[in-house]
């Protein structure tokens, strides 16, 4: 039993619905049995990991789905011990080195070298003979390498990336890397040049709706809760995919949440969004309207609250900026373009500060003050 989002995750390449061209490419690649290091990037919820896992399944067969979780321990030079989750099957393993923060280099060095230096024995024939005979022809070509999926590759530190670049070449006989990330801007060029980049875009609204519709078709109970009219359903799907910014995983979860929270879902049923989004929205509009120190005080306590709930500061900054962007768009000012430019440039400055510094509250509040100053300047002139 799992969430719809997990339950209806496509397992094979043929089940994938949108981006048919990429799926085709992957299919071709998988059938050749040989592939280079991959750099898969795209916005969250666009099906990166799904595609990667489906490709692996295509190559190795169903054995990739039998996962186990190991906790590896690494000891630092200072003697401190770190624990690290590794999810693996007999053909691949999946790691998130950014969990280790600044110590990710050690994971890359130790773990990858260890895997790279051991030649993997070919058990695939036996594995597949037992599990699914129909995929045997794929597995028959002997794969000597293991696949390592690195999640959140954009959060790898420079050190870790530097450690990675030589490993990628040296152990390429035994190891294939698949880096998954949202953006490539943090990835150093040497790594980009060693990998085959694959961009996976967010699904279009209609593709999103299609998937949601497909799920509803299979969930009989849920289907009764949603309107019969396909027009109406499509309106709901569109609202959901808009609210989730075309993040498919979130769309599915939102739909499930809506179903769980309402007897019948109609066009007017409110979309269930995470609470903090509303809070940030309210905060942004209030500071745009009232630019005073007392408002700043309220903003500070709201920010503290949000940060305390472990919501990443960068995400907050992004949401704030976007809301302010929308708000200023609706203003009737002579220098509207100038104003909005100033807001965006302030946002980038504070984004950098968030990366370089460590006290999020300083910079988030700084951004809010800056926005207040900018607004004050432009609004007062008019």
């Amino acid at each position: 039993m799992s969430l719809w989002a997990d339950k209806y995750r496509p397992r094979s390449l043929s089940e994938l619905t949108f981006h048919p061209r990429i799926s085709k490419q992957l299919q071709v690649m998988a059938s050749s049995g040989e592939f280079p290091h991959l750099l898969v990037y795209g916005p969250p919820g666009s099906g990166k990991k799904t595609r990667v896992l489906a490709t692996l399944r295509e190559i190795y067969g169903a054995g990739t789905e039998r996962l186990r979780v190991d906790v590896k321990t690494f000891s630092l030079s200072s003697g401190r011990k770190l624990e690290f989750n590794v999810i693996s099957s007999s053909f691949h393993l999946e790691i998130t080195p950014s969990d280790m923060g600044n110590n990710d280099r050690i994971v890359i060095q130790d773990l990858l070298k260890e895997i790279g230096q051991t030649e993997s024995l070919d058990f695939s024939k036996f594995e597949n003979a037992v599990v699914s005979p129909n995929t045997r022809e794929h597995a028959s070509s002997r794969k000597k390498f293991k696949v390592v999926i690195i999640n959140e590759a954009e959060l790898l530190t420079r050190d870790a990336q530097a450690a990675l670049r030589r490993t990628m070449e040296k152990y390429s006989a035994n190891i294939r890397l698949i880096l998954i990330c949202n953006t490539t801007s943090n990835i150093i060029d040497p790594i980009k040049s060693r990998t085959l980049p694959i961009r996976i875009a967010s699904p279009s609204t209609s593709a999103c709706a299609e998937v949601l519709e497909m799920i509803l078709r299979k969930e009989h109970h849920a289907r009764k809760a949603f309107p019969d009219d396909s027009e109406h359903r499509n309106i709901i799907f569109k609202r959901i995919s808009d609210a989730s910014e075309r993040n498919l995983r979130m769309s599915i979860m939102m739909m499930e949440a809506m179903y769980m929270n309402h007897d019948t879902v109609s066009i007017n049923t409110p979309i269930i969004k995470p609470d903090w989004i509303d809070v940030v929205h309210e905060l942004a509009t209030s500071i745009c309207k009232d630019r005073s120190v007392s408002r700043l005080q309220q903003a500070r306590s709201t920010l503290y609250e949000l940060l305390a709930h472990a919501i990443p500061a960068k995400l907050l900054l992004k949401k704030l900026t976007l809301t302010i962007w929308d708000f200023t768009g609706a203003l009737d000012l002579k220098d509207k373009a100038e104003l909005r430019k100033a807001v965006i440039s302030a946002s980038t400055i504070y984004d950098e500060r968030l990366s370089l510094g460590s006290k999020d509250i300083f910079h988030l509040e700084g951004f809010i003050t800056k926005v207040m100053v900018i607004l004050e300047r432009y609004v007062v002139i008019n």
Binding site: L67, M254, G357, E365, T369
Partner: protein, 684 residues
């Protein structure tokens, strides 16, 4: 007049002798003074004898002193002393002939309750707390508390305050006064783990050689870098809590109850030091403040008299000021300069470390006395010698919104705060000692921009919101850690992008699992489909629900790990949680029943299988199979009634032989063939 009275009162407090004079009525000493009180009572005052006695020479007050009688004594003495001093101040006494090589701070350490300087209220609080142990320790009646043994609710007394004001002294004096033997464990002692545990246990259970019970004094516990020490204390308290709660219950066969029956007094300077975090909630905390300079001065005067040093008020004032009311430091200073027999002012002032909130004051509050330039110099100097610039800056950030200012200025400051933050980040990443100098730049900028107000509001002390923030952040971080390490089949948690997980996924999951609708709705709709789905999901994600009662007696439920921290729950959702808890529980119980039934069914079959196994196993086991057959017969003969007993019988012969060759824990025992066979026969 009133101030004079106050002064006399305190002087009498300082200078009490072992046997208060007014109690003496039979003989009139040569130079005694007869005094008639306003009430008409006659009393005689004896002059004080200089004492060269050590600490502890004083007679033990093994019996309890009622605080009220003590106070009335004080009152009488105050009056008496008031009259004597009005007549004439005493001439300075000659210096003692016998040379003492003690530190004066030890020599003049107070030895009785009346010797203590200042803090009368606090002293009384401590006395009161210790008195509450009377019943538990001495079996004497005392004020009722909720506890069975009439102990105070919080079992540890934590006294904190700046150094040199008599925390250690008061703990010793009061415990002695109430008939305890003080046993001190301080930073000089080994305080790691097991060593200290024995020490504490001994102290808690035994009396001292003199027969008086022990009062444990843990000095300088904020310096306890060994976390083990604090952990042991917390453990002690928790065990006590648990065992006290289980008092009414039957505890046969359980380990002996560990109940605290002796008072523990802990002393520290900084009550907010992170080491004490765990201990703090279990302690009755008492803040010990500096005594009023006047009281300190009179004590110093007393010492000067005893040691025949002439020191005028001005000098003493200066000493007190330079040491900031640190009495111990004052006395040290006196001894150091005593050879001169008259004191001069050029004293080496104590290298003062100003607290960060004082520095904050200096930055924001414009002092009327000095010019801006001078104040700038002063602030700059104190900042550059301070080790807490980081804290000062954070303080500046906290305060800056409260100072009526305009936004543009605040916006400028945010750039400076960034500078500070970047600097701090650099500090942690590599050794950047060269940058230390620039650290004070940011607070100085604050000074430049904000130094104009006359008074800083009290808000800066209001850290409740920030404390809450830190608490919450800690909780969420912990919950996140737990969620990541959840042992379930949903790997999505373990490897999910943190931003996605926290920002979207968790709050949506909590919305899915705990819908914001009346419970009836999810129960009824879709033939209970929703409810069973929720329960299955809960199990799939291996989430638990904890029930507890809040202060109003209503049941509140919480999901573990705390997913709810990532999305708030309404009252309706709370109710659902409570109901869900019930459902999960019934499901669990049903599951258990099934399991036991299954096991019962399987039991006989298992038996057959093992028998088969032993038959067809390797070649060596010919004897074994013979033996197994024999035991089978025996067993059937003994108890052919139940299968479960058969399983038990099999277990009977299970033997583990472990032979650690070369180790001291080697097992040597006689083994018969029967045993050996049985040992091999039973599943190892």
């Amino acid at each position: 007049m009133s101030s004079l009275l106050q002064f006399n009162f305190s002087s009498s407090l300082l200078a009490a002798d072992s046997a208060p004079a007014y109690l003496d009525t039979e003989t009139i000493p040569v130079d005694g003074k007869r005094i008639v009180l306003s009430s008409g009572k006659r009393i005689t005052l004896k002059p004080r004898k200089p004492r060269h006695v050590n600490l502890g020479d004083e007679k033990d007050h093994s019996e309890l002193i009622n605080i009220h009688t003590l106070l009335s004594k004080l009152e009488i003495e105050e009056k008496a002393a008031g009259q004597t001093t009005r007549e004439k101040s005493r001439p300075p006494r000659n210096r003692s002939t016998t040379p003492t090589y003690k530190l004066w701070t030890e020599k003049y350490r107070p030895s009785g309750f009346l010797d203590l300087v200042g803090n009368e209220r606090t002293n009384r609080q401590i006395l009161q707390w210790l008195n509450q142990w009377n019943q538990a320790v001495f079996g004497k009646p005392c004020t009722e508390t909720t506890d069975v043994y009439n102990r105070p609710d919080k079992r540890i007394l934590l006294i904190h305050g700046p150094p040199g004001i008599g925390k250690t002294s008061i703990a010793h004096v009061i415990s002695k006064q109430l008939g305890y033997e003080a046993r001190e464990i301080n930073a000089s002692d080994e305080r790691a783990g097991a060593t200290v545990q024995d020490k504490i246990k001994n102290a808690m259970k035994n009396n001292s050689l003199t027969g008086s019970p022990v009062c444990l004094i843990l000095d300088e516990i904020d310096g306890a870098t060994e976390h083990g020490f604090i952990n042991i204390l917390v453990d002690l308290i928790n065990k006590d809590r648990r065992d006290t709660a289980s008092l009414g219950l039957d505890t046969k066969g359980k380990p002996a109850r560990q109940i605290l029956k002796r008072p523990i007094i802990a002393l520290c300077n900084d009550v907010y030091s992170p080491v004490l975090e765990k201990l703090r909630p279990h302690c009755e905390t008492i803040a010990f403040r500096k005594s009023h300079p006047r009281l300190v001065k009179s004590k110093l005067k007393k010492i000067c008299q005893r040691e025949a040093i002439t020191a005028d008020d001005r000098v003493l004032d200066a000493i007190i000021e330079s040491t900031e009311g640190d009495l111990r430091n004052c006395i040290n200073f006196l001894q150091f300069n005593s050879s001169a027999s008259t004191l001069h002012l050029e004293s080496s002032s104590k290298d003062t470390q100003i607290g960060w909130f004082v520095q904050l004051d200096n930055i924001f509050v414009r002092s009327a006395k000095v010019s801006k330039q001078e104040q700038f110099q002063k602030v700059f100097r104190s900042l550059s010698s301070s080790a807490q610039v980081d804290r000062v800056t954070t303080g500046c950030f906290n305060v800056m919104l409260d100072t009526d200012t305009e936004i543009s200025r605040l916006s400028e400051m945010s750039d400076w705060l960034y500078f500070q933050d970047a600097l701090g980040t650099k500090f942690s990443s590599f050794d950047a000692q060269d940058l230390t100098f620039y650290q004070s730049a940011v607070p100085m900028k604050f000074y430049q921009k904000f130094n104009e107000i006359s008074h800083l509001s009290e808000k800066r002390y209001n850290y409740r919101t920030r404390d809450r923030f830190f608490d919450l952040r800690k909780q969420t971080a912990e919950a996140l850690q737990r969620i990541k390490h959840l042992n379930n089949q949903a790997d999505s948690f373990k490897l999910a992008n943190r931003v996605q997980l926290v920002g979207y996924e968790l709050s949506l999951i909590s919305a899915i699992l705990v819908p914001d609708v009346p419970f009836r709705q999810i129960e009824m709709v879709g033939g209970g489909g929703k409810l069973s789905r929720i329960i299955e999901l809960m199990e799939a994600y291996s989430l638990r629900i904890d029930l507890s009662k809040n202060e109003y007696g209503n049941a509140t439920a919480q999901i573990r790990p705390a997913i709810h921290l990532f999305g708030n729950f309404s009252a309706k959702q709370q109710q659902i949680l409570v109901r869900l808890h019930k459902e999960l529980l019934t499901k669990y119980i049903q599951g258990q029943e099934f399991k036991t039934i299954d096991r019962k069914r399987k039991a006989p079959r298992d038996n057959d299988q093992t028998a088969k196994k032993s038959n067809c196993s390797s070649s060596v086991e010919y004897f074994k199979s013979k033996y197994a057959a024999l035991t089978d017969q025996l067993r059937h003969a003994k108890s052919s009634k139940e299968f479960s007993a058969a399983v038990m019988g099999q277990n009977e012969y299970r033997i583990w032989v472990k032979y650690h060759e070369g180790f001291s824990n080697a097992v040597r025992r006689d083994i018969t063939w029967e045993h050996l066979f049985a040992g091999q026969c039973g599943p190892l």
